[in-house]
Structure formats: C-alpha cells, structure tokens
Amino acid sequence: MLEKRIIAILQDIVGKEYVSTEQADRICYSYDATQQQFNPDVVVRPADAEQISLILKMANAEKIPVYPRGAASGFTGGSVPIKGGIALVLTRLNRILRIDQDNLIAEVEPGVITATLQKAVEEVGLFYPPDPASLKFSTLGGNVAECAGGPRCVKYGVTKDYVLGMEVVTPQGDIIRTGGETMKGVVGYDLTKLMVGCEGTLGVITKIILKLIPKPEAKKTMLVMFDSIDGAAQAVSSIIRGKIIPTTLEFMDATALACVRQNADLDIPDAARAVLIIEVDGERELLERQAARIMDIASPLGVVHTRVAVSDEESEQIWQVRRSVSPSLRKVNPDKYNEDICVPRSKLPDMIRAIEAISKRLEIPIVNFGHAGDGNIHVNIMVNRAIEGHEEKAETAIRDIFAKTLELGGTMSGEHGVGTSKAPYIPMELDVATIAYMKAIKRALDPNNILNPGKIFLEDQ
C-alpha cells in the first residue's frame, strides 16, 4: 500500500475526485482481456500531459511503478498492474483535437475510441484504416502502444503505418515530441517508430498525429468455401501473385467452421473444410472486375461454394459467419489461450498442418482463423483448466506452435504484443544480443524501471 503522503501528492496533481484507493476501484482496474488480475494500489485519472509529467516525476523519486491504461482490452497483459503501484487511466484524454482535410491528418488524444475517430473522419470523406476487432471500445493510445492490426491491414497496413508523430511523456517525466505532421521527416532518430508498439514501457503517449486517406467509394464482400485448407492457402498466394491486394483476406479452418456450422445464417456444406472471406474496395466500377478475377483465380483450387454479396445486408451476413467464431469457441472448451502468430503468407498451409498435428498429438482442440492475407493466424488453444494436465498441455502446445512459427520464418505475435503472456517465450524469437540491445534502451530511458515494469522482458532474462 502506498503512504498517505503519496496519495495526497497525487490528489494535488490531478484533483481529489480523480484519485481512488477504494477496494472496488482497485479491483476494477486490475485486469485486461487476459483475465489476469493484479490490484493497483491507487487508480489515477489524469487530464493532460502536464499532470502525467508530474506523476511520473514523483513516481521516479519514490520508485513507484506506473501502469498506463486505456480501455484495457489487450490480449497480452500490457496494461495489467502486476507490481501494484499506480494504474494510470488515460480515458479522460479523449478529444479529437483536429481533422485537417488539407493535409489529411488527424490529431487526437490517446483516450479516443478507435471507432469514434473512424466515424468522425468518414463523415468528411476520409478514412483511418486500422480496424482491430476491439475498435468499438479500444482506445487509439492502446492501439498505438500495441501496434494494433485488423482485417483491413492486408491492403492498408497496421497502426504504425499511420502514426506520423506523437507527444510523449518520458519515463522520467519530460514531455517530448516525436515526428511531426509532415509526410516526410528524417531529423534525428525515428522515435515515432520506437514508441509504436513499445507497450507503454518507454513513454506515456499524450497526443497522436495520424495519417488519413480518402475513404474508398465502395466495397464488395465475397465468401469462398474450399474443400481443403491447401486450396484456400493457395488461393491467397495466387491472388496476391496476381497483383490484386484485397482489403481483407480472412480465413477460417475446418475447426472454426465446425464451431459455427450450426448457428450460421448461411449454409456451410460439410464438404467445406476452409473458408476465405475476401473484400475488395475502391471505385465502384472496378470492383466487379476485381471480384471476377478473384473468383477466376480461386475456382480451380477446390472451391465447394461461393457467394458474392450484392447488398450491405448480405455482406453483413458473410461477416457474421466470421464474427460468430469467437463466441462459439466456449462450446469447445471453457478456457482458451489465444495466440496471434504470423508467418510468411506462402507458409500458411504448412503452419496450419503443423498446428493440426500438435492438436492431435496433445489431444486438445485448436481452432484457427484470422488474417490469411498477411499470414496472421489466431490460434485458439481450447482447454478446460479444471481438468488436470490441460494447463500443461496448453503450455506445450504454445511452445511447439511458436517453434514451428519461427522455423517457418514467422513471428510469435502479429498484433497483440508481448506483455506478460509472451514474455517467457521471447528468447525463442530474439537472440541474446538483440534482447540486450532492447533492454539497454529501456534502462537508459527508464533507469528506475517505473514505467510498466514486468512487461515484454522477464526480470531474469
């Protein structure tokens, strides 16, 4: 527990009503979507960069851990206060500061909900593409700190491709600016790229300048069912080799299809062993042609059934098939380990086959779906923690899956980050010198290790 003196300082900085040590609040700011719970000692909700700067200066002097937090919807424990201390809730910084239609940029505070920004820019004909599944509730600060992705990233890239500059409070409490609002800029180190995906360990983001693009005029959604995962994977490679980059290229494997077959609005024949949901966007007259070419490319690859949406409702119906996978997983087993490995696109079938073999060997169901277009697979290892041995099996499965991913030239996280969940596995992907280099940066910027300690690197690594 923190001394009364510290609480009084915090109250002086942000105002009494924005500091809470109530047990109820400590519990409510203890978790994220990993469901790990660690109570902070105090919940603090600052209003601006100046207050955050004062908090961090004090935390440095007193050696108190500080855990920045947006909507806490992360999948790897990035915001969980594992050493207690201060939960720094950033949702009061929630203004869209400007949308500049001349320069196609937006300046926002970190607590803005992703969907709120998207709606605002789309109202003036602009577009902010990154679309993590959590976009209706996750914050842009969190998206930037984790470098969030989403289905549209195949064509449009991930969060880091849209961040031009930032205002950041450093771990020692200085307020700095990275990048700027120009499309180009090479003065000094690229601190913007360093901050994106740093998981809140190198600074607290207080302003973000984002690049926008014109909103595509129209889109077209297609559903293609294949008799094998190989057919689907080959279709992905062929489409991309055919110089078409769809907006999204989502896939579901046989295990995922089995989960939704009963409840889907659309008929999914038993012969369908893999599904691709493909969306193209752009000028209306080009879409028909693109769609036809995609169908031509896919048709020799064991297509069982296809469906091209002709209305928004039909498009929605197709997406509903994909969205209903996650909720239906619970029917398989009550607990899941959700990994987001990423392999080179062409290695997708090898990876799926390897996962199938691991699932069979360990006798635990593993359900796969995700963003085939960029080789990003959501691997859901379904277990029942109440059954003895399941937890160990999940552990083994994760390790084996990561090993295979790396063997195929992939990475163990495409968009969720490391946090605490993947920290133990980092040495599998990064060599000793690389880890040392990263840790040297962290040490130099945060000598007292007060900002989001315990994340990305395990203490003893």
Binding site: E22, Q23, A24, D25, I27, C28, Y29, S30, Y31, D32, A33, T34, Q35, Q37, A71, A72, S73, T91, R92, I113, A115, S134, K136, F137, S138, S326, P327, R330, P334
Partner: protein
C-alpha cells in the same frame, strides 16, 4: 413462497465473462460516468470479489451496484451473453438482505405491494395536489413540479389520474364470443397515472372484438421491488400476479408497458414452472396486434392529408425482448402518421426505474442525448411503447424547453381508429 437464485448460483456465468471490454461500447451509464466499476465487466469482477471474500459490501460498492439502468445492452451485445442484468439484481437482493433496503427502496417496495395503500396515496395526492403540484411560470418549459421527498426538486412527473384505470372499468368486457379472451395487465403507471393509455389499449382490443379481462387483484409487476433489491417482496408480488392472472383461462396476457413486459416475461421465470408458464402467455400489445393482422386493418383506413411527423423512441425493455420493431410497424401503418427518423432513437431515455431517483444527474444527461435527437428531427410527436419512457421523455423535453408531445403508440392507434368511425 418461491425465491430467486442467490448470487452464489451465478459462479459459472461470472466465469464466462472474459473481460474483453465489449460492454464498454454499449453501456449508456458508462458513456456518462467513465468508471470501470459502472460497466458490466467491472460489476462482474466486483461480484466475483464479493464471492471470494475480497471485498465487503461497503458504501462505495453499494453505489457502484446501484449504477445500472437494467437496459440489458451489456447482455445482448456480450460475445458470451453473460447475464449481467440478473447478476446485478442478485447482488442487489443480497445487499437488500444484508444491509437493508434504502429508505426509498423500502418506500417503493412497501407501497407497490399494497394496492390499498397505493389507492389511498393517490387519493390523498389528488386531494392535496394544489399543494404538491405547483404551476410553473409560463414559458419556463417546466409543466409540473413534484417536490416530494427523494424526488429531485426539478424533476417533472405527470399528475395523478383523477380515477385509477382499474377502478373505472369493469373486470370483464365482453366482445365477440368467437374471439380470444385477452387478459390486460395494466401495470402501475397506466393504472394510476396514465389511464388514457389503458383506454387506448381497450379501444384497439375492442376493435378486434376481443373479450377483455382486467383482473382487479392484479398488482405491480414486481420489477421496481426487484431492482430495489427486495427479492422477497418481488416474489410475493409475482405470486399474487400468478393467482390473479391465471384465475381465468385467458388465451393471452397483454401488457402495454415495456418494463412490465420485461418484469412478467423475464424476471420471474426462475420462480417455478407456474411462473414460467405465465411468462410464456404474456405478450406486448404491439406484438399481439401485429399477430392479429392489425397492420392490414390500419392500412385499410382512409389516408389523411398532411400526416403528422412522428418519431419512435425504442424502449430498452422491448429492445431487450427483441420486439423493438413492432411499435414502429404499427406507427408506420397509421393513416395520420408520417414516421420520421431521429438520431439516438435507440438510446436509453435514462429512467431505469429507481436509477433516475438515485442518479438523476446522469439520468438527465442521458435525457439530453434524446432531446438532441428530438430537436434535430422533424418530429412533432415522439411515440413510444412504455409509460416509464413517456414520463422520462416528457421530463427531458420540459427541461430542454422543446414543444414536442410524447405519447404511447396505442394512443395514436386509438385516435386513428376513432377518426375512422362514421361520425
């Protein structure tokens, strides 16, 4: 007497919350309060902590648990459909049992369980209305004030009806012998405050030739007592309604209040097979009229010139029951109505039963959202399907100084039926 499940019985459902945060996108209270303790994910964590002995029922926790409109959005939009609404009610029952009900909660529960007391109070209320209801200076937009204890000083509520609905109608109104026997569950708002809605319901049912039963022994649906944390009181009301509503073998039991519908169809099912059977028989009046082919009937009425622009407010309790489109379909078929869209039509009015008594400030903010939508629409009338929403929307419009009228969809239906009668 039958009883609701204890919070302990929800352990498995509590575990099904995976803390994904989806509820943060849908909770109307969270949008205003921005505290994790308000949103479903937070309340679930608090319930878990309570069961694990990691937190006590302190004042702070009680306040957090009270911040819920029971609108059901968190359940409907939850990927795992965790029944947070039931969990919150179970928490409130435990609080009610261990900490006692709040003074207001006790008042609500006491009065609503005793029709003689309700009748007496409404009679007294009418007698002293020159004291209680002060005319507000013209032009302020506020129509009536009700400076009663526990009701915020600037809250406006409708006047008490000169005569309660059930007292001014016989228990049985015969119709066409071949037509169904319909039991009308009036609910308290229609009975004591807005009997004209009840009259409209009768008019619609009579136009179908239905035989109508209005059991004198029916009481409050029990939802207010349940929300106040009085599990025993709510169950007593449910048992009494079970007797009153099943004494005659009606084909269907209809409600014209979205909240009563939610009370009767959802919240007392678990009390036993009889209660579940009763719940199966209850239908919202709009749903019933649609089923009876009422849209076709309305479409045959002569069209009116210059139909009035009307917007529809979706009551949360119909939304939750999957019936939100039924009133809209009826409105759209009315000859004197031109249905117009309004922004935030789907958002909660902010009443949430006793919520608005404890948290009138938040309630008013939610109301202001509605007012914005109404102001920007073309609507001259806002029609809805819940007397509770009507009271709250009227209060909202009074505060915003807007001229629009608020009424029940059935009132518009009845007016058009009357207009179509040969003069």
């Amino acid at each position: 007497m039958s009883k609701h499940q204890e919070i302990e019985a929800y352990r498995q459902q509590l575990r099904e919350c995976v803390k994904c945060g989806t509820c943060r996108a849908h909770c109307p209270v969270f949008k205003e309060v921005q505290s994790e303790a308000v949103v479903a994910r937070g309340k679930i964590s608090l319930a878990q902590a309570l069961l694990d002995g990691k937190i006590d029922l302190d004042r702070h926790l009680l306040s957090d648990i009270s911040q819920c409109l029971a609108c059901g959005r968190c359940v409907k939009d939850c990927p795992n459909q965790v029944p947070t609404d039931e969990i919150i009610l179970a928490l409130r029952r435990r609080i009610g049992r261990e900490k006692g009900l709040t003074l207001f909660g006790r008042g609500v529960s006491t009065v609503l369980q005793r029709p003689w007391l309700m009748n007496l109070l409404t009679r007294l209320g009418r007698m002293f209305s020159w004291l209680a209801f002060r005319k507000v200076p013209q032009g302020s937009g506020l129509r009536l004030r009700f400076p009663a204890p526990y009701i915020s000083r600037d809250r406006t509520i409708p006047a008490i009806a000169p005569q309660a609905f059930r007292q001014s109608h016989p228990e049985f109104i015969a119709g066409d012998p071949d037509k169904p026997l319909v039991t009308f569950f009036t609910g308290c708002m229609i009975n004591y405050m807005l009997p004209e809605i009840g009259d409209s319901v009768l008019a619609a049912l009579q136009s179908l030739g239905a035989n109508i039963l209005i059991p004198k022994d029916q009481g409050c649906c029990g939802l207010p007592a349940l929300c106040a944390g009085d599990g025993a009181g709510a169950a007593r009301l449910a048992d009494r309604n079970l007797d009153a509503l099943t004494a005659h073998k009606a084909d269907v039991i209809i409600t014209a209040c979205a909240s009563c519908h939610s009370g009767l169809t959802k919240h007392f099912r678990s009390l036993g097979p009889d209660h579940a059977q009763l719940a199966d028989k209850v239908m919202d009046i709009h749903e019933f009229l649609l089923q009876q082919g009422f849209v076709e009937k309305l479409e045959q009425l002569p069209r009116r010139n210059n139909p009035q622009p009307v917007a529809y407010h979706v009551p949360c309790h119909l939304r939750q029951a999957g019936l939100k489109e039924a009133p809209r379909q009826l409105l759209a078929a009315l000859p004197s109505v031109r249905l117009v869209e309004m922004k935030n039509a789907d958002s909660c009015c902010g009443l949430g039963g006793t919520f608005s008594v404890y948290h009138y400030d938040i309630s008013k903010k939610l109301g202001a959202l509605k007012a914005e939508g109404i102001r920007d629409s073309e609507a001259e009338v806002v029609a809805t399907a819940c007397p509770g929403c009507i009271m709250q929307l009227q209060d909202t419009l009074n505060h915003a100084g807007l001229p629009q009228q608020v009424c029940h969809v059935l009132e518009m239906v009845a007016a058009d039926l009357k207009n179509a009668e040969p003069q």
